[in-house]
């Protein structure tokens, strides 16, 4: 394995070196030196994407200027976007060059470039801004071109933070292409080990054919890419039938599954802190510490509602939402059902649970049976009172509202995930005079429940209900742990709000403050990607 990896590293370095040398028209390796080869290729691949996008913006601005656009037009069309992108490119280019090729990095006046971008941003005078744009336009392309030349023409690298089933490719535009008539491109891939790839036995499979991958394209190859397999890519271009006009070969790349999604490192830290806080407070509660819990009116009313049903001799209707057991709201709803069923058993009240999913019916029966047993009334448990209606949303609504109108339950409890049916159910029960308690974590349905029900558990209250009703120390401890999560969120929100406000005023843009804001946004708002 080590030898194989070593061969790939060497092959990668050689190909990169040769490609880069050919791009500069000089002998010997040029830009790439030192460090881990795979890391270098990846870094250059990402930088290629960045430079290609920046180059496109520079061209766009150049076109606008040549068309006689004034500074306001430049500003409104491309400038705002360009300054941000170019600033990012400059920062990342400097970082990569300093890490992998300090010699080249030392030849570029980074401070001057940063000053130019800053001046451009703070300039308020139209004429001055126009001159700055011109200066920026003169300088930046030459810097980009200098770095660009170091890059191999076609870069293929393992897609980061994936399961090893994708390869990313990037290829740059070369000035020489402008004079060549290229109608279509043909990107092919060969798989196998290094030996096969270098022999004639390698089978080249089409990845993309057509005009859709012009210079500067970013391509994500996900066509049956397998982890721990080596791939070599070849890009051909030309007129139909004359493919030899342009041929680039990317260094051999190995698709690898990552064992840790580096982009989610901060997110994972937060999760660990939260889990540790919950575990700590559970232990604290078990040791006998006094944990205060504010009164939740909706849960205080459960006893009263069950008692009312007993007095009136009418049933309690418990609706656990319309989602299946894979929804945490349904699980939370059924946990509350257990507590309600226990109180109902103690009061000898009749409980009815229509369900919209078969699995929910099965679990609800287990839960209610256990509650009746805990209350010492196993004889009072009636399996038939927990029944399946239909999976269909409005079919379920029709059946449940029919039950409400016919049986006129004294109490209706809605605990789970609800959609459009929430208001139909709550309003129907309201017309029958039932006392209603609802709890859900569907933000769009909360206003409906608040308007139509007597008590509503809003979001987190719904999830706290189980701990509240049981009063068990370990469950109360988990609620206290939740508060630590809230403190973390509050701190992050405050920092983010202050930074965003400061940056939006304008004078802190493109400074370290702006960097912190970008970091916060990238880290905590885009974790799903």
């Amino acid at each position: 394995m080590a030898q194989r990896f070593g061969r790939i590293v060497v092959a990668g370095l050689v190909v990169i070196g040769v490609s880069a040398a050919s791009a500069r028209g000089q002998d010997g390796p040029t830009g790439l030196a030192g460090g881990d080869s795979a890391e270098v290729v990846k870094a250059w691949g990402e930088l290629s994407e960045q430079l290609v996008a920046t180059q496109a913006l520079v061209d766009q601005l150049d076109k606008l200027r040549s068309e006689g656009a004034d500074s306001d037009a430049l500003n409104s069309v491309a400038l705002g976007r360009s300054v941000g992108l170019i600033r990012k490119t400059i920062r990342e280019t400097e970082h990569i060059l300093l890490k992998h090729n300090p010699a080249v990095a030392g030849q570029i006046d980074w401070a001057e470039l940063k000053r130019l971008i800053k001046d451009l941003h703070y300039s308020r005078d139209g004429q001055e801004r126009s001159e700055l744009v011109a200066e920026w336009h003169r300088k930046l392309p030459s810097v980009i071109a200098a770095v660009f030349e170091l890059l191999p023409p076609l870069v293929a690298y393992d897609a980061p933070n994936d399961k090893g089933k994708a390869i990313k490719l990037c290829w740059k535009a070369q000035p020489s292409f402008a004079s060549v008539r290229i109608e279509r491109f043909d990107l092919t891939r060969a798989a196998g080990d290094d030996k096969i790839l270098k022999s004639d036995d390698a089978e080249w499979v089409e990845v993309h054919v057509g005009a859709g991958i012009g210079p500067g394209s970013e391509i994500l190859d996900k066509k049956r890419v397998k982890p721990n397999h080596d791939y070599e890519y070849r890009l051909r271009g030309g007129a139909e039938g004359e493919w030899a006009t342009l041929i680039h070969t990317a260094p051999v790349v190995t698709a690898k599954a990552q064992w840790f999604d580096y982009a989610k490192r901060y997110y994972m830290t937060l999760v660990l802190i939260f889990v540790a806080a919950v575990a700590f407070y559970i232990q604290l509660a078990k040791s006998g510490a006094n944990l205060n819990l504010r009164k939740i009116a909706g849960l205080e009313a459960v006893d009263e509602a069950v008692g009312r049903a007993t007095e009136m001799g009418r049933p309690i209707l418990f609706i656990p939402g319309i989602q299946d057991m894979n929804d945490i709201q349904t699980v939370a709803g059924l946990i509350i059902l257990g507590h309600v069923a226990k109180i109902a058993a103690e009061h000898d009240a009749q409980l009815e649970v229509p369900t919209s999913k078969s699995l929910v019916m099965t679990v609800a029966r287990e839960t209610v049976a256990a509650a009746y047993m805990d209350a010492g009334r196993p004889d009072a448990y009636d399996e038939k009172s927990i029944y399946y209606v239909t999976d269909d949303q409005f079919g379920y609504v029709a059946a449940v509202t029919g039950t409400m109108v016919r049986k006129k339950p004294a109490t209706c409890i809605y605990m789970g995930a609800f959609y459009a049916e929430s208001l139909i159910l709550a309003e129907t029960a309201n017309t029958t005079g039932a006392i209603q308690i609802a709890g859900t974590a569907m933000p769009a349905q909360l206003p409906f429940f608040v308007a139509a029900c007597d008590y509503t558990l809003i979001g987190e209250e719904f999830f706290a209900a189980s701990a509240y009703l049981s009063g068990a120390p370990d469950q109360l401890g988990s609620l206290k742990g939740q508060d630590v999560g809230k403190v973390i969120v509050l701190v992050l929100l405050t920092i983010g709000t202050v930074l965003a406000s400061v940056v939006s005023i304008g004078y802190m843009r493109y400074t370290a403050v702006d960097d912190w804001l970008i970091f916060l946004k990238d880290t905590f708002l885009n974790v799903s990607s």
């Binding site: 287990e366 987190e460 999830f463």
Partner: protein, 334 residues
């Protein structure tokens, strides 16, 4: 034991799901988990269906109150089930079941498409041929052209039919039969085969014209729409109760709702059209106020709720995974 095994499964699978969120190499487990859940839910449907038949059957048998409704439910339950399974009125699938199967290493698949809205194009893809080799094609003994295999031993045969005025648009099956149905197709002396159109019930049970489709389109959908339409009336009645000015909070709610309702109508725009659109005064035009209430107040409130929900979900999940809250698993007693 009754609780230990489910608790262990819950813990192990739950932890795996958490870990896979941070480990791309294990991300397939999430899909695998949801597939397993679907299988479980499908099996559990038998329980649900059985329960439905039993409870409604009992009502009908004992002539309990409302047994007529149960009768209607059971009738249509069985009618829909049978019609769906037997595929009553389903059109045959527009394709082939086999072509060139069992002919040594040479094999072929066929795809059909309609071009120019009328012409029917049939592509027969042959593979397993010798690279760069040439072969003659014959249909029912008549020469139908030549093919040359590419370097991978693959070749396409394209048959174009101008279309048939008698065939309604989109019905490929009769045209297929005209082109090659039942005729023997030979690829040189290497392989031969013929099309075997799919059987009568090969089409989708939800395809246009089937009995299941009819029940769904003209029975189920109107009923569903009727239930959904009732929501409009319930919104009005709930709003009427909710927007009563009983205390300070209610007055604030009423005022905010009034502005947003106005802002969503043309009347709101017209009412403040005389005011300038910019500056401090412009802020107080109904459309601007509505937008501000929705973008700032509403978004801030709903995000606060969402953050609370997210923490609540995490906390509840932890309680379930760690077995702190296990009332959903049934009784502790063996």
């Amino acid at each position: 034991m009754k609780r230990s095994v489910p608790l262990f499964i819950t813990f192990a699978v739950g932890m795996l799901m958490i870990v896979q969120a941070f480990v791309p190499a294990l991300s397939d487990f999430a899909d695998l988990g949801s597939i397993h859940f679907d299988i479980l839910a499908a099996i559990a449907f038998i329980l649900g269906g059985g329960n439905l038949i039993r409870s409604h059957g009992e009502k009908v048998a004992k002539r309990q109150a409302g047994w007529g409704y149960s009768g209607v439910t059971l009738t249509f339950f069985f009618l829909t089930l049978v019609v769906g399974i037997v595929k009553v009125g389903v059109s045959p699938s527009q394709g082939f079941s086999t072509w060139l199967s069992g002919s040594g290493t040479v094999s072929g698949i066929a795809t059909m498409s309609i071009t120019d809205g009328k012409k029917y194009e049939l592509i027969l893809q042959v593979s397993g041929l010798e690279a760069k080799s040439e072969h003659t094609i014959s249909i029912a003994g008549q020469p139908a052209g030549e093919i040359t295999a590419n370097r991978y031993g693959r070749a396409d045969i394209k048959l174009v039919h101008p279309g048939d005025d008698k065939s309604p648009p989109g019905t490929i099956q009769p045209v297929l039969t005209q082109i090659a149905g039942g005729n023997e197709i030979k690829v040189g002396g290497l392989a031969s085969g013929s099309f075997v159109p799919y059987g009568r019930t090969s089409g989708d049970h939800l395809g246009n014209g089937s009995a299941f489709w009819f029940l769904y389109e003209y029975g189920f959908k109107p009923l569903q729409s009727t239930m959904f339409a009732m929501l409009a009336f319930y919104v009005a009645s709930a709003a009427f109760r909710a927007f009563r000015a009983r205390n300070v909070e209610s007055v604030l709610l009423l005022g905010t709702a009034f502005i947003v309702l106005l802002g969503r109508t043309y009347a709101g725009t017209v009412m403040t059209a005389w005011m300038p659109e910019t500056g401090l005064v412009g802020f107080f035009t109904v459309p601007h106020l509505t937008q501000w209430i929705m973008m700032v107040l509403n978004t801030a409130g709903s995000r606060a709720i969402m953050i609370g929900i997210a923490l609540g979900v995490a906390s509840t999940s932890l309680k379930v995974l760690l077995g702190i809250d296990r009332s959903y698993l049934g009784s502790d007693r063996e």
